[in-house]
């Protein structure tokens, strides 16, 4: 069983303490919703777990994972930037990330169909709308297997139908024993535990 334990985490960005002494436990098969006002450090927490922000103090331990790999290598990070090149087509972008990140999940065509962007496969990603780009970013969750999903505002720019699809995808992942940590203001559409972090300084 996989378990992510954070003990007394302190995060500092730009010389300012974003949050301090944050402890929580994330169990396999659990979806946790990180809530808090703007500037409370929700995005910083996700980036910190992904290994993209230095841990100032405290510890982050993952049990039950691959001991050779660090925590970030177990994670999908789906942030505000979607990491797609506007001059490559939708299919090329997804194929690149699937190969680069190691794949292991569903085929790109299946993933694109599930998220309703299959008909856009040959279109350069630069022409996608914000919601379509977000759906393409979410397709990466399906094509590459990672036990921990770090989702930053996953429902942003998604229409109601796509939000339902996303909720279904997340429910499947949780049912398969995955872990989800999502920073969001709105409801995710599946049973979640809430992790409220500090008030904005």
């Amino acid at each position: 069983m996989m378990r992510l334990t954070a003990h007394a985490l302190t995060c500092q960005r730009g010389g300012r303490i974003v949050f301090a002494g944050l402890s929580f436990v994330l169990e396999a098969g659990e979806a946790v919703q990180v809530t808090g006002p703007n500037g409370a450090g929700k995005s910083s927490l996700l980036r910190l777990i992904a290994g993209l922000v230095r841990i100032e103090e405290g510890s982050l331990v993952l049990e039950g994972g691959d001991p050779e790999a660090n925590v970030g290598e177990h994670c999908h990070y789906c942030g505000h930037q979607d990491a797609f090149k506007g001059s490559l087509t939708v299919a090329e972008n997804l194929a690149f990330w699937t190969r680069y990140l190691g794949g292991g999940g569903q085929g790109p065509e299946v993933a694109m169909e599930r998220l309703g962007i299959g008909h856009l496969a040959a279109l350069p990603a630069g022409y996608l709308s914000a919601g379509q780009r977000r759906r393409l970013a979410l397709a990466r969750l399906l094509t590459v297997t990672r036990p921990i999903w770090l989702l930053d505002e996953p429902t942003a720019a998604l229409d109601l139908a796509s939000q339902k699809v996303l909720a279904g995808i997340m429910a499947d992942h949780v049912a398969a024993g995955g872990l989800i940590l999502a920073a969001t203001h709105g409801p995710l559409g599946l049973p979640t535990r809430e992790l409220a972090i500090g008030s904005a300084a």
Binding site: R47, E73, C75, Q81, L88, E92
Partner: protein
């Protein structure tokens, strides 16, 4: 070819070809630099023949640096760099692969264009081969050293100029031995092999050291 490194190599080459003919921009810039020199120095054919190899090398150096600041900046801007750093593939290998793709897209066209541009500088035909050979051996070092500068400047919004200032001094040894080898091939009296082997050594050293240095710079650039 499969695997993460092959994927990134193919993507970078594809991007270089798609975005406004990435390779051609360097060659056209190279052409512009080399063309204005005879106008500046005057029509002294002997002088041109003597400084020709140096001009070709300086032109190639500047053309390589052109756009090198985008090597990591573009990936940092759209979030690709975040995902690359999270992936299990070692970052120095990713950087070496990106530098290789950059060299293939911008360095190799310069090498191919150099003998043609040598005609403008009255470089003797028998020396064209030497010019192309030294550029072929030396420009990988320029791409790799430039990658270190690009990694340092990645967190700066307009790091292009800073990168040039950081990188140019580091490329001086490559320039010295590149020009020395070319001159040795044309006029002597030094044997060609001596400076050329040092030039190759510089490229090999950068291949080992630059990706590690650039990876450290990228990780440091993270907050």
């Amino acid at each position: 070819m499969t695997g993460p490194l092959a994927a990134i190599f193919r993507r970078d080459l594809l991007l270089a070809m798609r975005i406004g003919g990435g390779a051609m921009v360097g060659v056209v810039f190279f052409l512009a630099v080399v063309t204005i020199v005879p106008f500046g120095v005057g029509p002294d054919m002997n002088l041109l023949a003597r400084i020709g190899p140096a001009i070709l090398w300086i032109g190639a150096l500047l053309a390589t640096l052109l756009g090198l600041d985008r090597l990591f900046q573009a990936d940092a801007d759209d979030g690709s760099l975040d995902l690359m750093m999270m992936a299990p593939t070692p970052l120095p290998l990713v950087i070496a692969t990106k530098a290789a793709a950059h060299w293939l897209a911008t360095g190799l066209p310069l090498v191919a264009a150099a003998p043609v541009l040598g005609l403008l500088l009255n470089v003797p035909p028998e020396a064209m081969g030497a010019v192309a050979l030294t550029l072929g051996a030396g420009t990988p070092a320029l791409s790799l050293i430039g990658a270190v500068g690009a990694a340092l400047a990645v967190s700066l919004r307009r790091g292009g100029l800073l990168m040039a200032i950081l990188v140019l001094p580091l490329t001086i040894p490559v320039l010295i031995f590149g020009v020395a080898a070319t001159n040795a091939a044309i006029v002597g009296p030094l044997p060609f092999g001596q400076p050329f082997t040092i030039l190759v050594a510089l490229s090999l050293m950068s291949l080992v050291l630059a990706p590690i240095a650039a990876a450290a710079a990228l990780r440091f650039g993270l907050e």
